[in-house]
């Protein structure tokens, strides 16, 4: 047995989890196995050796998933898990394939090259516009920035996308075929590069199916457009509606949101604990005492409140307050001390462009996590 074979039997598994709209049940099943098996999720494709797609196959997600799969370095393995009941078997199978070292044929010589980000060539709506549709009734993004700016920016958009395939843009001086970024004044009046950076739909602790196209200067978002990535074909029954017991549903749903918010806030210990509580609740275990203790711990963290305060402030509506207030409300709902608020993802998507414009990347991630739109609930009329 050579050294590589020996090592392959022992390496740690680093799964990158992608979930599609309608895949909440599968995602929860998969996340529970990750936790129980001691697999620490990867933050990016470079770190991953396992790609897990949880949820029903969605043609709108396919280009994104394929683009990510192309940049996962070998040895690697992949599992598409649509049915939560299959999760265990499929994960074991994928792990065995990873450890066996039988790489899928295209990995051998291929040089893994990614463009500026982990995103597929999904910029021009023409190519798969049928699958990617704008979210938010108001066509957000038009209000600020103006469309001429977006048009101007298009060259850099395309350049990033073309980069993936290594096309030559014709310019001799363009490194790797990427056009230079445009420049414009930032909020402080400095001339800075404008980078077109899509956030999602493959990103850790990110709502399934959400895609926010941002224009970044430095790490400040100048402009954000919100889209959803989900196919027309299937009408989804929101997973959380299928959880029968009211108190369990609310608490588990809120814990699930807290897992994402706490992960983005960089508090892994509390996030992992929340994930465990969520899974135990859904499995019908009694965790009241632990839940109360956990909620008290999170609520009492002055550092967390200080870190979240003032971000994404809204004056009225169901999401009034800042990110810290919204977390507190979730904790109240999870512990049963406050009634559950009604969730309307369409409303959240309509709010996002205004909230994100002018926010730093870190703040934007926290704001989105604190609203946590569940796209399974979107009204069908969209698109």
């Amino acid at each position: 047995m050579d050294l590589t074979t020996w090592l392959l039997q022992r390496i740690s598994v680093r799964p990158l989890l992608v979930s599609t709209v309608g895949g909440t049940a599968a995602r929860l099943a998969v996340e529970r196995r990750f936790r129980r098996r001691g697999w620490r999720p990867a933050l990016n494709p470079a770190e991953a050796n396992l790609l897990i797609v949880a949820g029903p196959r969605d043609p709108a997600m396919d280009p994104f998933v394929e683009a990510v799969w192309r940049v996962v370095p070998g040895p690697r393995s992949r599992a598409d898990i649509a049915d939560p009941a299959e999760a265990d078997a499929r994960l074991t199978e994928a792990e065995q394939q990873l450890r066996s070292g039988t790489l899928p044929p295209e990995t051998g010589q291929e040089r893994h090259e990614a463009a500026h980000d982990h995103q597929p060539p999904a910029d021009d709506h023409g190519r798969h516009g049928h699958a990617v549709h704008h979210g938010g009734d108001a066509e957000p993004g038009r209000e600020h920035g103006g469309h001429h700016e977006n048009a101007m920016d298009h060259s850099s958009h395309q350049a990033h996308d073309m980069g993936e395939g290594g096309h030559d843009m014709g310019g001799m001086s363009m490194p790797g075929g990427i056009a230079m970024a445009d420049r414009a004044d930032d909020r402080d009046g400095l001339k800075l590069d404008r980078l077109a950076v899509p956030l999602g739909p493959v990103l850790p602790a990110w709502p399934a199916g959400l895609l926010v196209r941002t224009t970044l200067q430095g790490d400040v978002i100048q402009d954000a457009e919100v889209e959803t990535v989900r196919g027309h074909a299937h009408v989804v029954t929101p997973f959380w509606d299928t959880v029968s017991l009211d108190s369990t549903r609310v608490a588990a749903r809120r814990l699930d949101s807290c897992v994402r918010l706490l992960s983005v806030a960089g508090w892994d210990d509390a996030a992992v604990a929340a994930g465990r509580l969520r899974d135990d609740l859904l499995a019908g275990r009694d965790v009241d005492g632990q839940l109360t203790r956990w909620a008290r711990r999170v609520r009492r963290s002055r550092t967390l409140r200080w870190s979240l305060a003032g971000l994404g402030r809204l004056d009225r509506g169901p999401f009034a307050g800042d990110t810290a207030d919204r977390l507190c409300r979730w904790l109240d709902e999870a512990t049963g001390t406050a009634p559950a608020a009604v969730e309307d993802p369409d409303e959240i998507l309509a709010l996002l462009p205004d909230l994100l414009a002018g926010a730093e990347l870190a703040a934007a991630r926290l704001i989105i996590a604190s609203l946590d739109p569940d796209l399974e609930r979107m009204r069908a009329a969209h698109g």
Binding site: E113, G166, D219, D269, A270
Partner: protein, 308 residues
């Protein structure tokens, strides 16, 4: 003065640092496994299996990446992290007993500024770039309190030689009469290693930040450098504030190790207890609270040294 070791002792230094880093990573992984309800025995070997995974993983490149720049950044981090411990005595034995050992440590630690930025920039990736710049901002926050803490300890001993500083604490450890300097130093250790609550440069919100595009050996070198820098920083606190190898019963080298592990344990505890501290918020505390406090601490120590 410490007893300087023969040159080959320098070869043992990386091994000691790696062993300490592995112990810390294992402890952290076991605690995470306990929270998660995962098997603890498996978590014990997780750091080693992570290394194995990176050894067999393909290196991948991003389009139009500055490969030389990025790799030299990661390599510089690793080398500087080991060299930072050159003047740190294990018990009575430093590898190199520089007369300016404290300045040496500071110079090595500051290499991280360039290294992380180079790695982030070199990948030609938006997330990498954001992570790289986050570390520059972090440096602006932690570096001055860190330097004032170093100066305070040197002032108390009247020497920049690390073994002199350790020897000057015969009757009273510096942590007792310069607590503010010790706290300032302790906070700067995870900050310089972008670890624990100061891990924003490689944060989950930016898909791994400066490390977002690293795989295989490149990732191993970068993350290894980060771990060794953390250990080097923790180990340096021992001669600086915790009396070096002094202690009853056990031999000095063992005391050095025990104290280093204790500092690392505090850092692990801090990491697990706190969410990521963003520089956008921390900068204010660093400049408005930490810098004045460490300065006043230096002043007090200076006055005591003059009067004594």
């Amino acid at each position: 003065m410490g007893d300087e070791l023969p040159w080959w002792a320098g070869l043992l230094l990386p091994l000691v640092l790696v062993a300490l880093a592995a112990a810390t990573a294992s402890a952290d992984a076991v605690l995470t496994a306990r929270t998660a309800g995962a098997p603890a025995r498996q978590a014990l070997t997780l750091p080693l299996r992570d290394i194995g995974g990176l050894l067999v993983q393909q290196r991948r490149r991003t389009l139009a990446a500055d490969v030389l720049l990025g790799r030299s950044g990661a390599f510089a981090l690793l080398v500087a992290a080991v060299l930072a411990s050159l003047a740190t005595p294990l018990g009575r034995w430093p590898v190199a007993d520089f007369s300016i050992g404290i300045v040496w440590f500071n110079a090595m630690e500051v290499v991280a500024w360039a290294a992380v930025w180079l790695v982030g920039w070199g990948a030609n990736s938006a997330y990498g770039l954001v992570g790289g710049y986050r570390f520059i901002a972090q440096g602006l926050a932690y570096e001055l309190p860190h330097m004032f803490a170093l100066i305070t300890a040197a002032l108390g001993a009247g020497s920049l030689r690390v073994s002199d500083v350790a020897a000057a604490q015969g009757s009273l450890w510096f942590v007792v009469w310069m607590p503010a300097a010790f706290v300032g130093y302790l906070l700067s250790v995870p900050a310089m290693a972008f670890w624990g609550p100061f891990d924003h440069p490689v944060g989950a919100d930016a898909a791994g930040g400066a490390a977002a595009e690293l795989s295989g050996v490149d990732r191993l070198v970068f993350l290894g450098g980060r771990w060794l820098l953390l250990v080097s920083g923790a180990a340096f606190a021992v001669p600086l504030f915790l009396g070096g190898g002094a202690g009853p019963a056990l031999p000095p080298w063992l005391w050095s190790l025990v104290k280093t592990l204790a500092v690392l344990a505090v850092l692990v505890w801090l990491k697990r207890r706190l969410p990521t501290v963003r520089m956008e918020r921390y900068q204010e505390i660093a400049w408005v609270v930490l810098i004045p406090v460490t300065l006043v601490q230096a002043l007090i120590v200076a006055v005591v040294v003059l009067v004594r």
